[in-house]
Symmetry: C2
Subunit: 247 residues, 2 copies
């Protein structure tokens, strides 16, 4: 990571300060919303209680997520304002390694913000970014919140949704999609309904999924093992124990 | 509470939604900062784990805080952007009941934001608001962060600092002041250095302190009992257990 941020990498709070710097830059660029700032604060608190590290069960979840992305018919990575602000290059890299599409999908949707986020991802190397067509709908959601690309999330069998709203996570699950959710609160509805809940900071989670994907690439047996050996409810219990009990 | 917010009081998340509404209105008015939004999110997460209720030890802390404010030579309530946005009328009422001064004091200080906050408190009934003179300094802090009114916080023996930064809380403590801190994270430095750490949502804490102050008013013995029977380290341990163990 080589951001223009005045904090030495040796600083004990480097990752946390860098994260905050990126989020604030996201606001300046018009890609992070107010709700995004509040959500960032919630994440900080859970991560603090988690010990600001990737716990073992989260690493297993990241490996399972990589396997699902690789073995999907059509995988899509959903990108919102905070995800774009925090890990733009990392999302593009994950997309390249797994072959998953990138689709911008916002809880508080405006065309302007979607275009800015798509542009920001392209600045970080993305060749194609979905989300602007918005000709598909997720059943059971309000009009604006239901919009997806018909040939993107609408058509996907596996969706990675970092930092997703609970209603949307639930509705996507009801469409029968395999949902990979990154969420630092193991008690959140998004984490609870996920096929693979990844209770980890997105800053650590996305590069970890990419690393697992590189390892699992073209090894169908290893992909199957990563998926079969992962248990969502155990992962949630482990994460809650880490947060409640101290990591 | 009678805000212009489209959420019925019966809604299970009423308090949480009202809080968020007030914070967003604070941004619109230019009194809540970006850092304030992130801090709000952190508070939401801790309050969620706490069960979004005032635990017994927090109630005892609120009673002790009321007693300290009433028995002070010169008590000052420090008001930052989030406190002003969340509980403007409640802070004015507490000030009236206890005789404590109100002083605007910001971590990211700008004259404009101080004036807006002072004006907002006056709209909620405050007669005098300190913080604009800024002719005193807290030793050991950067210039802008050190500013206080010499005849306000500078002169106070008891200071209520809701949602205070750790460095400032520590520096105020080193000045020998009795510090009453409202902070939802019992592990934060502000809570750790406080004479009375109040681990509760400010939305619940300020009215609770006012209620205790009404009861303890002119009863010196009861004030002494509330102070003597309060133990800060027990309160912090209780709060952490509630957050870690589930309320």
């Amino acid at each position: 990571m080589s951001d223009d941020v005045d904090v030495p990498e040796s600083h004990p709070r480097y990752e946390s300060l860098l994260t905050r710097h990126r989020i604030e830059a996201g606001v300046d660029m018009g890609i992070t919303s107010r709700q995004g700032l509040i959500a960032q604060g919630r994440g900080e608190a859970y991560d603090y209680l988690l010990g600001e590290e990737t716990i073992d069960s989260a690493d297993r979840a990241e490996r399972a997520a990589a396997a699902y992305l690789l073995s999907a018919e059509h995988a899509v990575i959903s990108v919102n304002g905070n995800a774009a602000a925090l890990v733009p290059g990392e999302l593009v890299e994950l997309s390249e390694v797994t072959g998953a599409d990138l689709e911008v999908n916002l809880f508080n949707r405006t065309e302007e913000r979607i275009e800015r986020i798509a542009e920001y991802l392209k600045q970080h190397g993305a060749e194609a970014v979905r989300g602007l067509t918005a000709d598909g709908r997720i059943p059971g959601l309000d009009h604006e919140r239901a919009k997806v690309d018909a040939d993107g999330i609408g058509d996907a069998d596996v969706v990675l949704v970092p930092l997703e709203d609970g209603d949307r996570a639930e509705a996507l699950g009801e469409m029968g999609k395999t949902e990979l959710v990154v969420d630092l609160n193991p008690l959140s509805r998004s984490a609870q309904v996920a096929t693979v809940p990844i209770v980890d900071n997105i800053i650590r989670a996305i590069p970890a999924i990419t690393e697992h994907a590189r390892e699992l690439h073209e090894d169908r047996d290893a992909q199957r093992t990563a998926i079969d050996s992962f248990d969502a409810s155990t992962a949630l219990t482990d994460a809650e124990a880490a947060i409640r009990g101290g990591a």
